[in-house]
């Protein structure tokens, strides 16, 4: 409060507002917030700091960036998921609501969620539109104990995968990406093409067009999978100039008839999809 009295700018990040928030000004983010809201706040701060008046407020509540509003709308829920902080307590619950209807419970650390089997199935198949889901603090309420805990990486993956066939607003086709961690495919159960895409991204930084070529995937599938991986926090952007050439891998045994034939034969033998 004294900082505010000294006319210092104060940014408040409020987790679970159980009490009235002290009025410290206009720079308040209520967790979980959208990445866009954080960006807007930073823009307002920048303007405030570079403008010699006390009344400089720009774009408050207005979407920023180059993407059209309808495109941004598809990413609203994904943006909320991206700001969840795993350091919060798993005992603080959020309720995922859509049009006032509770769909699922998400733990405060963002690692598990609970929902009915039919809702989980709808999330996995993309038959439920998650774009306008909001997370509401549960204020001490607990989820129904009959609901089964599921890894929320599943929720993140499918929210990102089904959001759009276009690249997410924070991804650029010209940039190179690589995998920084593998999402838990045991919980996600991805299609073979999605495992192949993740594998290619794990080897070296690569652009979207290169990814399509090397993973032998369609552009929409590569795009959606890239979006899903980004929503899971599994991707890093790599500056093309900074990509060091890696030394050639040491070889394992080579199949007599070559690797291409080998991969076909072993997948057919084990009944794995191509």
């Amino acid at each position: 409060m004294s900082w505010n009295a000294d006319r210092k700018l104060v940014v408040e990040i409020v987790t679970v507002p159980t009490e009235p928030i002290p009025d410290l000004g206009q720079y308040v983010l209520t967790y979980p917030f959208k990445a866009r809201q954080a960006l807007e706040l930073l823009l307002r701060l920048e303007t405030r700091l570079t403008t010699p008046t006390d009344v400089a407020v720009v774009g408050r509540g207005q979407p920023q960036g180059n993407s059209p509003d309808h495109q941004r709308g598809k990413w609203e829920f994904v943006e909320i998921l991206r700001t969840l902080n795993p350091s919060l307590s798993q005992k603080d619950w959020f309720v995922g609501q859509r049009n006032g209807e509770s769909l699922f419970w998400l733990s405060g650390d963002g690692l598990t969620y609970l929902t009915a089997p039919s809702t989980a199935q709808a999330i996995r198949s993309g038959t439920i539109d998650l774009s306008d889901v909001v997370l509401v603090p549960a204020h001490g309420s607990k989820p129904n104990p009959i609901l089964r805990a599921r890894a929320s990486i599943e929720l993140r993956w499918f929210a990102g995968y089904y959001a759009s066939e276009q690249l997410a607003p924070w991804l650029l086709s010209a940039m190179q990406y690589n995998l920084t961690r593998w999402p838990d495919f045991g919980a996600i159960r991805p299609a073979p093409s999605q495992i192949r895409i993740a594998a290619v991204l794990s080897i070296e930084p690569i652009s979207l067009s290169q990814l399509v070529e090397r993973s032998k995937s369609s552009l929409p599938e590569a795009t959606r999978t890239l979006n899903a991986l980004a929503t899971c926090g599994a991707l890093a952007v790599v500056e093309s100039q900074s990509v060091a050439k890696r030394s050639p891998r040491k070889t394992s045994a080579t199949p007599r008839k070559g690797f291409t034939r080998f991969f076909l034969e072993i997948r057919k033998h084990l009944g794995l999809g191509v």
Partner: protein, 186 residues
Amino acid sequence: MAADQELKIVFTGPMGAGKTTAIRAISDLPPVSTEVINSDKETHAKSTTTVALDYGQLVLDGGTTVNLYGTPGQERFSFMWEILCRGALGVVLLIDASSETAMADFRTFIEYFRRIRYDQPFVIGVGRHLSQDGYHLEEYAKELSTHEIVAPLFEVDVRHREDVLLLVQTLLCVLEAQVVEASHAS
């Protein structure tokens, strides 16, 4: 066939992690196991354990054979881990998260196997971890990150064949991506 041209996939992990079960789930032949009565029940309560290795086999349509090896779990047999991994197509590490020593085992195995060959396709399956008190795979992910290792890390139940196949499929995808990259580089 020269030993270094043998096509093989290696299953490793501590005692009781499910290596024998995983090989049994996909092997064409009944796996050969050299199991004896477990005399180390302080470490794990299972009645028998593998002291040398498990062996299974995939015989593909064109006659190509892929050998499946399960390493002994005890660290005192670690000299065999390196021998078995030499030239392998990839390594599947299995960890039983319900074990009290799970995280220490995890560290031991990832450090050891990364040292053998850092770029060998390496997939990790962690079993029995999603309990009522939360999701623990994140702790293993953090440990991997600490070691700067980017490796597939999945929750699995190796009693289910599809879970073992997920691990093998991922291993093949990583190997395939390495082969494609090498062909682009050359």
